[in-house]
């Protein structure tokens, strides 16, 4: 297994290089650069070409594409993540500031979707063919098909503006000291972010549970006279959990990317909303780091899922 892990980690390096090059190239091909986004058109009309050139030179944008990319890779390998072009803030600081917000939102959404999705999927499987099963199936389909920004806006309208149970958005307010102070702010965005994933987990766990319940060991358990709850939840559910864990593992990194829209809707100051600003402003060092982090998270999740699957299921051999 150790050889497998080392080999996979080594493969990650060229993959990251190729992906980073493609992202860099994509940014290069978009019209304009950071300078053209920094200065509004009215102010730009008052600037001389020499001033533009000086600004580009100061930000290192006057070098060729390959030179800039090579410099970026070199700096990365030396632990220098660079600075945001627009505000000069070290990117490591931006990550340290924003990532916790995104991670707490993503993990809570993952928790909500896992608990609710597995519970409803199990109920749906146990009540197969009944009105409950059909209702949950319809709800699941709605959860998958309605865009999350719509859910977000509707939930703000109902729970924040009409009922006034929860805040309209944001993460912190003056005077907050503990997580409990902040808790009301995270409930709505985490629930909305978890919604689409809940539907997926529910459908997946329903199928896995049905598959598990049709196995011979379940029949054996019943013949031994075990109580029905024990057969379903101890024997059936435990086996059904393996593919669901795999699904959740793969979804974890995508939650970081998936939170972009939710962060915008709920004014959540995470890495997703930062990414939107960076793309709009052609702030390539920041875009590159966020993109690379997302890619790295996906690759690592893939590795962890493979290892976990091998540990859980003895039939799986890592090679």
């Amino acid at each position: 297994m150790l050889t497998f892990i080392i080999r996979r980690l080594l493969i990650v390096i060229p993959m990251l290089l190729v992906i980073s090059f493609l992202v860099y190239l994509g940014l290069e091909l978009t019209p304009g650069d950071a300078v053209s986004h920094m200065i509004d058109p009215e102010a730009a009309s008052q600037m001389s070409p020499a001033q533009f050139e000086a600004l580009r030179e100061a930000l290192g944008l006057n070098k060729s594409f390959l030179e800039r990319y090579a410099t970026w890779v070199y700096n990365m390998l030396h632990g220098d993540f660079g600075r945001s072009l627009s505000g000069g803030v070290p990117i490591s600081e931006i990550f340290l500031d924003r990532l916790p917000a995104t991670l707490e939102l993503s993990f809570l959404a993952l928790l909500f979707s896992t608990v609710i999705g597995c519970s409803l999927g199990t109920i749906s499987a146990l009540k197969r063919g009944t009105a409950t099963d059909s209702s949950l199936t319809v709800i699941g389909m709605l959860g998958v098909s309605i865009p999350e920004f719509f859910f977000g806006l509707v939930s703000i309208l109902i729970f924040a503006l009409h009922l006034r149970w929860l805040p309209v958005g944001g993460r912190l307010m003056p005077g907050y000291e503990t997580f409990l102070d902040r808790a009301p702010h995270i409930i709505l965005p985490a629930l909305v972010l978890s919604l689409m994933m809940t539907a997926g987990v529910m459908r997946y766990s329903r199928a896995a549970m049905l598959d598990s319940l049709s196995r011979e060991f379940i029949r054996t358990a019943r013949s031994k006279g075990l109580p029905e709850w024990r057969i379903n939840f101890v024997h059936g559910f435990r086996v059904a959990l393996t593919p669901v864990v795999v699904l959740i593992g793969f979804r974890l990194p995508t939650l970081i990317g998936g939170s972009v829209i939710i962060e915008e809707v709920f004014q959540w100051p995470g890495i997703g909303s930062e990414f939107i600003g960076a793309v709009r402003g052609a702030d390539y060092p920041l875009v590159m780091m966020i993109a690379l982090f997302s890619v790295f998270a996906v690759l690592m999740a893939s590795l962890i899922v493979d290892v976990l699957t091998a540990i859980i299921d003895p039939r799986v051999r890592l090679s």
Binding site: G32, S36, A58, G87, G170, L172, M173, P269
Partner: protein
């Protein structure tokens, strides 16, 4: 490369290069065509419908008021006259005008549809597209000296001119400075007149002559004057403080504002325009962001229409009779928010540093470019000018000096990237108490403020911008007590809220069609 390829192809096909890559002749260089376009657009209907009446139809780039000439042709909707003018000018109905814009809002897209319909009705076809990427370059590229071919590729550009000083409306037309208006000696003379005096009555006469000239030649077709809308919650009482052009700085009496205490018994007000990654420096947009508005003072202060009215950091000031020198005597005991003394050295350093900053506010740039000498004598700052700048006092009512002791040595080109802008130190009535970047910024009264300690105990600013969708959400939730917007849709929603009031303000902000008038347009 495309052009080289075209030339090679033309040679191969035994064509002249002129046939392959001719710059197209521009019929918009004929003023009758421009006048026809002005007559073809029914701005009254557009303002009543698209803008819900929340704009004012423009008949000049200069806003209504004392500087506006009487008897200007308003080019009221007259499609028959438009068709006649086009016929007289020999308009080629097969050509399709390329109209560009740079706003991303739905209202602009709707306006483009309306313009297309109005122009189509008189036989002028147009397409429209939003500029992306290097918008400044695409709008403002200047033609080579002496050529009659424009360097920009568009026919018409929809945009705005938001002027701090009225001269900004016309200074850009100077020969060699405009991407869409060829040089013209008569116009240059008119520009020299509006810049050549600080006497208000003489300025008014010069502006009126300019407006009459432009009213015929239509370098820009003025469409409408954008209004600004100030909104406030019923928790806020300005206690007689005036309202005015909120995009800039004026004496709004914030020290005397009071707020209804919140549930904790504290007078806290909520607003927006806090930073998401860094505080924007105040030398480009001097009054848009909350720190610039409440955290920084200026040598002079101004009224709601931005006319300088007296000293702010300056106890007094004196302008020479010829307008070529000014001296400011700073108040005694001024300090920055960190307790360090605010001196004439800070002001001099700020002016000298600002001169090197790309994208410096153009009014500031004109004033500072005219400076021939600057010195300090104790608390007195003496400035001499090589030429008269009619907006010198306006500049010093908007230009905020910054602390030399914290910024000295900064490279002006990387001014915005300095760490100072993560938690800046100012001189205004409120100082920064806490920065939670991208969450909120908390301001508290500056205890040593020279104008007295503010009564409001705390101002909390969120990063929601001037025109973003969070305004309505935050206002509805009681998290927005004051601010301003130019968005018509926001204004309608704010007006429907019982706890909010909206006060319209006329500002110098004119939306127009910039017409490319060069004889030829680059392909």
């Amino acid at each position: 490369m495309n052009k080289a390829l075209g030339i090679a192809l033309a040679a191969a096909l035994q064509m002249t290069t002129t046939h392959a890559y001719a710059d197209r002749a521009n019929q918009l260089s004929d003023e009758r065509v421009r006048q026809a376009i002005a007559y073809a657009i029914d701005m009254d209907t557009i303002v009543d419908t698209l803008f819900e009446g929340k704009a004012i139809v423009a008949d000049s780039m200069i806003p209504n008021g004392g500087f506006k000439a009487d008897g200007l042709n308003a080019y009221g909707y007259d499609p028959e006259k438009a068709r006649a003018l086009l016929k007289e000018a020999g308009w080629d109905e097969t050509q399709v005008l390329d109209v560009v814009y740079y706003y991303g809002d739905q209202l602009t897209a709707d306006l483009m549809v309306a313009l297309q319909a109005y122009l189509g009705d008189v036989g002028v076809q147009m397409t429209y597209r939003k500029l992306e990427g290097d918008v400044g370059g695409q709008l403002n590229a200047l033609p080579a000296s002496g050529t009659d071919t424009s360097a920009v590729t568009w026919d018409i550009a929809y945009g705005a001119k938001a002027a701090l000083a009225l001269q900004e409306y016309y200074n850009g037309y100077q020969t060699g400075k405009s991407s869409y208006t060829p040089g013209d000696a008569a116009r240059d003379e008119l520009i020299a007149r509006i810049n050549g005096t600080s006497n208000v009555e003489e300025q008014k006469l010069a502006f009126k002559d300019f407006e009459r000239y432009e009213n015929t030649v239509l370098s820009d077709i003025p469409l409408y004057y954008q209004q600004l809308f100030i909104y406030e919650s019923d928790r806020l009482d300005r206690n007689g403080g005036q309202y005015g052009n909120e995009q800039f700085n004026y004496d709004w009496g914030i020290v005397n504002w009071t707020a209804e205490p919140d549930e904790t018994g504290k007078q806290t007000l909520y607003t927006n325009t806090a930073p998401s990654q860094f505080f924007e420096h105040p030398w480009l947009n001097p009054g848009v962001y909350v720190f610039s508005k409440i955290g920084l003072d200026h040598l002079l202060t101004a009224d709601g229409s931005l006319a300088p009215t007296g000293g702010q950091l300056a106890e007094s000031y004196e302008v020479a009779a010829d307008g070529l020198s000014v001296s400011f005597d700073l108040k005694d005991g001024l300090t920055w928010h960190d307790g360090q003394p605010l001196t004439g050295e800070d002001v001099v350093w700020s002016i000298e540093t600002a001169k090197g900053i790309p994208g410096l506010n153009p009014v500031f740039a004109n004033t500072f470019d005219a400076i021939s000498d600057i010195s300090t004598d104790g608390d007195v700052i003496n400035i001499s000018f090589a030429k008269l700048d009619p907006n010198m006092l306006l500049t010093f009512s908007q230009f905020a000096p910054l602390p030399k002791h914290l910024l000295e040595g900064v490279n002006p080109v990387e001014f915005q990237q300095h760490p100072f802008w993560q938690n800046p130190v100012g001189s205004g009535p409120f100082k920064i108490e806490e920065v939670q970047m991208n969450d909120y910024v908390r301001f508290v009264p500056f205890a040593d403020y020279h104008g007295g300690v503010a009564k409001v105990e705390e101002i909390v600013a969120f990063p929601s911008g001037e025109n973003d969708g969070n305004i309505i959400k935050n206002a509805t939730a009681g998290r927005l007590d004051f601010g301003f917007t130019k968005s018509v849709a926001d204004v309608q929603s704010l007006e429907e809220m019982e706890h909010m009031r909206v006060i319209p303000a006329d500002i110098p902000y004119t939306r127009s069609l910039r017409i490319n008038k060069f004889a030829n347009i680059s392909e």
